[in-house]
């Protein structure tokens, strides 16, 4: 009886402790390095502000060289092919990447990464789009697409995207213009990667199934044990 009481108290203590930090039980599996959030979710813990990035891309004989621009924390990387820029007589192209101080949440979309403003001293050559890679956090649902906007207020347009290295998303055909970029998914649909059963998340259903199995299997086992102990007493 004392042992059962101790276990019951431990269950209550755990439930309270786990309720205070989302998502609750979490064993530390995740991306190789923590994501630096502009607007950290409660479970993010100690958060470092996201970094900006700068690149000077040389132009040789009127053609910009292949190069990449990235933030210092590697959360956004933009790759450029040779001749990706309309150089217009420039000898160097500068690219600036700045994380926004705010976190836009446009209607119908759920952006799960920071929004970044990418600018350059020359326009992109439409025939040589730039490739874009965004890293995201394991504390948020996986994004489905990278979105682009010319203004943080929108509209945000989806760039066809695909998963890259773990916890990264990459554009399939790149982008031919600069602007604001973030990754997310349509809020009207469930986040990609989440398993939906009966219209909801699998986790509540999994827990409900576990409870039902324990109760259904536990009752006969308890009855059998009681009968066995009754037989012994007889």
């Amino acid at each position: 009886m004392k042992r059962a009481a101790a276990l019951a108290i431990a269950v209550i203590a755990y439930s309270l402790a786990a309720w205070m930090v989302a998502p609750g039980f979490y064993d530390g599996f995740g991306p190789p390095q923590p994501y630096n959030f502009t607007c950290p979710p409660p479970q993010a813990g100690a958060n470092i502000k996201p970094s900006s990035g700068h690149a000077d891309i040389p132009v040789r004989v009127g053609v910009s060289e292949a190069d990449s621009a990235f933030t210092d924390d590697g959360q956004l990387v933009m790759g450029f092919l040779p001749g990706a820029f309309v150089v217009g007589g420039k000898t160097t192209i500068t690219v600036e990447i700045k994380p926004l101080d705010t976190c836009p949440q446009p209607a119908g979309l759920r952006l799960v990464t920071n929004a970044y403003h990418v600018t350059a001293s020359a326009a992109l050559n439409p025939s040589k789009p730039a490739n874009l890679v965004l890293r995201y956090s394991n504390l948020e649902p996986d994004p489905a697409e990278i979105y682009q906007a010319s203004d943080p207020g929108g509209p945000w347009t989806a760039l066809p995207s695909q998963p890259g290295q773990p916890f990264t998303i990459v554009t399939k055909q790149g982008t031919a213009t600069f602007g604001y970029f973030a990754a997310g998914y349509k809020s009207s649909s469930p986040p990609p990667g989440s398993v939906t059963v009966g219209g909801g998340q699998i986790l509540p259903i999994l827990v409900a199934v576990l409870i039902v199995v324990v109760v259904l299997a536990g009752l006969p086992l308890a009855i059998m044990r009681r009968r066995q102990s009754g037989d012994r007493e007889d």
Partner: protein
């Protein structure tokens, strides 16, 4: 004679505690290196499992008597561990499929190391109270490098629950199953 046995038990418990802690911290640091997450989990799980070598299964709580109840206990523990995340509004992050087998390896390894070998060694040294408190404290310390600070309360509470189960039911099968279910879900 008794003092010598006590010193040997203390030395064994201390050594296991130190090595388990080092393995967990090394695993956490290795997992932070790009591309090494799965390898860190798998190697960490294997290294932690090695702590169970040399112990009779019964001393680790791995007996086969009342196996149905042990399995059922594991499902119940899994439900308890996941319940706060399941009833919380909003989306809980699910474990990426590629990490599933590595997560199972770590769950088994951690249970064998903390609630198995370390618990048994501390039990020999100072009885159940030392085994429960000691294994829970070490378990919490082992997660310092892999978890944000505010998660450590929940980690400690989960460790205490699993250690109390180990004590109350003399069973490690249920903690292994419950831990694996919880790790697979989150």
């Amino acid at each position: 004679m008794t003092a010598a046995v006590g010193a040997r038990s203390a030395l064994r418990a201390g050594l296991i505690a130190l090595l388990v802690l080092l393995v967990e911290w090394a695993r956490a640091l290795m997992a932070q290196q790009p591309g090494l997450t799965v390898a860190a989990l798998a190697l960490g799980g294997a290294a932690l499992t090695a702590f169970a070598l040399g112990w009779p299964p019964e001393r680790l709580g791995l007996g086969t008597s009342k196996f149905g109840l042990r399995l059922l206990g594991g499902l119940a523990l899994g439900a308890v561990l996941l319940l706060p995340a399941a009833v919380r509004p909003g989306v809980a992050p699910l474990l990426p499929a590629g990490l599933a087998w590595a997560a199972i390896a770590v769950s088994i390894g951690e249970e064998l190391a903390f609630r198995g070998a370390l618990y048994a060694a501390l039990d020999d040294l100072g009885g159940a109270p030392l085994a429960i408190i000691g294994s829970t404290s070490l378990w919490t310390a082992a997660h310092v490098l892999s978890h944000p600070t505010q998660f450590l309360g929940a980690v400690a509470a989960a460790g205490l629950l699993l250690a109390l189960w180990r004590w109350a039911c003399k069973d490690l099968v249920a903690p292994v199953i419950g831990h694996a279910i919880a790790d697979l879900a989150l």
